[in-house]
Subunit: 442 residues, 2 copies
């Protein structure tokens, strides 16, 4: 169970202050991404499930309270109020797997302000990161044009927990497997993997290594052929396949060099040997642009292992995400800071044939439009249908099929713009004027 | 305790194959970074401590073995061999906090090949990520020129575990505090934080919010002044400081706009009010280049909150790290793959007045040179002095002081080159020839 101390100190300061002043009124916070990174035409919502688990179990344990008292100087009255805190609020959110755009709320929390504030850091962290990865991995899916993709990122993600989230997010956007065994166990994913160069090197020769591995795994051998000289490696694999009489689930893996050239040459050597059924697997520092180039060149590659650059979303490793107070005690609020202005009020996103419309929560939806935010927790309890990774995958496939071509472009994508409703614009103007008047600026 | 399933499937395949063939001979694997990213002049070693904990406790639990049998098809003989596996090998490593260069081993493992192979994924993941972050944070230290730095990255690191590692790594390279409460508790760090814009917005006016917060935290109030209009905010903070008679640990925080201009204007307003003791804290999407620009411009900023771009190492979110077999059963080995060639044998790095020399482990060290790799685990038990975060910080400060100026440059740094010893070069040549001869290429 994640600790309630997974938060920034200022959240605790603010919560303590609210509780001390009996400010128990409801606040609504909205979590959204202000601008997309240059290389993104859309985002894929991810990370909701762990957030709901966190909210459901939210509480301070005694040793956590002791730390806050002894080391951070919180007084007994505050610790006592923290002890009683639970999350009993409402959460509206975009289900995982759906495609979202800039300024569209991914999640809105309504709860007494202290607890709604305290959970900010965890929710922002988890949704930002998992949405970052799902969005990057979705680009790989687009690039692959139907060829298989396997998550190979575990060794260089930003920590081992990050690797779990990457394995889960990549499955949601259509990767067929992960190399990550713990993630496969935890989330019920398919797992894939073969051999490393070190395996080949630990035998007196490449051929002896191939024979050993294929003897041990006769029904799932992919020969890593580039340890010494790639085409020699392919020929050795062919010899071993013949000598051992192997037939099922055979492949070779190319992990270095010019993959397009080596794939063509390898395919030719395999085909000449009557081994059309041996698949070619490519890996080695690939990202979606490399995959796109290889697919467009029609390189005879059946599957790609995608690693580090996807697993850290190297070209855009974070999103400009925020968690903003939009309503307090029934009063819509906003922030005026230069270049960081926000829109007030509880919101909805209505997806229709004309594109997305960001509206106030209770505005009537135009005919033929679908609301993206659904209630997923009411009064602290999970609500709505149980959503699995499969549900997310289905939502992603549907949204991807309906996405404008410009948004799907890998190079200089054109993100669709979500319009805001007239009612939302009117509310924004009136709240802004009211604040400026109070601040003495107008 | 981290699971032994925190590994790639191919590690399990290879280990199973080694165990089935009674290949229990010792292997040495070397973990190093092949090339530095363009924006890095040096790296700071980090992540060793969790790796040693992982190795010390390494074992498969029954439910993990059950998963491998039932879902991944490993046979009983293999599961039985996995059940008995422990890490009883040796680890030589560069202590955390030391500065290292490309091609210098950060860690070398010597153990029976199956277990040495199985731990690859975890070790690579943890050392790569933590070294990535420590190296990025070290650049912030250089930029800050003695001003205080606080880790503000928690909300947008790649997962919550990543945030823990960032808090720890930033402290090691001299940050004075973190906003991350759980990390502070776990690692005994200093924690810092004030208020968010939402706090201001939840009161009828900025002044009421400032009074409430300062009443609740009279000995540690930093007023966030940019919610509505920054200089108005500064004047309001001054009024509240006077009205409440505050005197200790006071500050204002600027989080948006032109920080250089606003800091000068704020300093002027504060000084005119006789408030020279009120510190100015700046935050808002800063990285080391922003900090450098502000420090060079002599902006009157006392402390910087550094967030997302440091916490994900945005310009270089991963390192080109590898874990390579360099010796098996007493025989030095290497890989010839195009552009990925490695050097064989157990190694040492000797740091002397002429720079770094990568040598074989047992070569005599030249006079006045210091070995970077030290034995940290022997036969599966921790060895050598107990190293704390403080030890790491001390090592970092010493190494930083001795680093050539070109390596410390923030823009287009010049990483020093680690030479290789004659004995290492000679071994590399002879092993390469031997492999080519065996492969039939020579």
């Amino acid at each position: 169970m994640p600790s309630a101390l997974l938060t920034d100190l200022y959240e605790l300061n603010m919560a303590a202050s609210y509780l001390r002043r009996d400010m128990h009124q409801e606040a609504t916070f909205s979590l959204f991404v202000r601008r997309l990174p240059p290389g993104r035409g859309f985002l894929v919502a991810a990370g909701l499930e762990p957030c709901l688990e966190f909210l459901q179990d939210f509480r301070f344990e005694e040793q956590e309270l002791a730390y806050l008292g002894e080391h951070l100087g919180f007084d007994d009255q505050t610790l006592s109020a923290f002890r009683d805190l639970r999350f009993e609020g409402d959460v509206w959110a975009v289900p995982e797997g759906r495609i979202v755009l800039a300024n569209e709320p991914l999640l809105e929390i309504t709860a007494p302000i202290a607890v709604a504030q305290l959970v900010e850091t965890y929710l922002l962290n988890v949704i930002t990161f998992q949405t970052t990865i799902a969005s990057k991995a979705a680009r790989c899916r687009i690039a692959a044009g139907g060829r298989d993709l396997v998550d190979f990122s575990f060794r260089r993600t930003q920590g081992t927990d990050a690797a779990m989230a990457v394995a889960r997010a990549t499955t949601m956007v259509g990767f067929v497997a992960t190399s990550n065994v713990e993630a496969a166990r935890r989330y019920g994913l398919s797992v894939a993997g073969t051999m490393a160069h070190s395996y080949i090197e630990s035998f007196p020769s490449e051929k002896e290594a191939f024979i050993a591995f294929a003897t041990d795994f006769p029904d799932r051998t992919t020969f890593l052929v580039d340890t010494y000289e790639t085409l020699n490696g392919v020929r050795t694999a062919i010899e071993v396949i013949r000598e051992l009489g192997l037939s099922d689930h055979l492949g070779i893996r190319l992990d270095s060099g010019d993959l397009e050239v080596l794939a063509r040459q390898s395919r030719e050597v395999l085909d000449e040997a009557g081994m059309q059924h041996v698949r070619i697997f490519a890996s080695g520092g690939l990202d979606e642009l490399d995959v796109d180039r290889l697919v467009r060149a029609d390189a005879p590659i059946d599957a790609f292992g995608i690693g580090t650059r996807m697993g850290v979303s190297a070209d855009a490793p974070y999103l400009d995400s925020v968690y903003k107070l939009v309503e307090y005690d029934g009063r819509p609020v906003l922030k005026l800071s230069a270049a960081k202005a926000t829109a007030p009020g509880r919101k909805q996103v209505l997806r229709g044939p004309e594109g997305d419309l960001i509206s106030l929560r209770n505005e009537p939806a135009p005919d033929g439009s679908e609301p993206l935010l659904v209630p997923v927790m009411l009064e602290g309890r999970r609500s709505g249908p149980h959503r699995t990774l499969e549900t997310g995958r289905h939502l992603f496939e549907t949204d991807l099929a309906n996405l404008p071509e410009g948004a799907k472009r890998l190079d200089a994508p054109q993100p669709p713009h979500a319009r805001s409703s007239e009612a939302l614009d009117a509310l924004t103007s009136s709240v802004r004027e009211e604040i400026l008047r109070r601040a003495g600026v107008l």
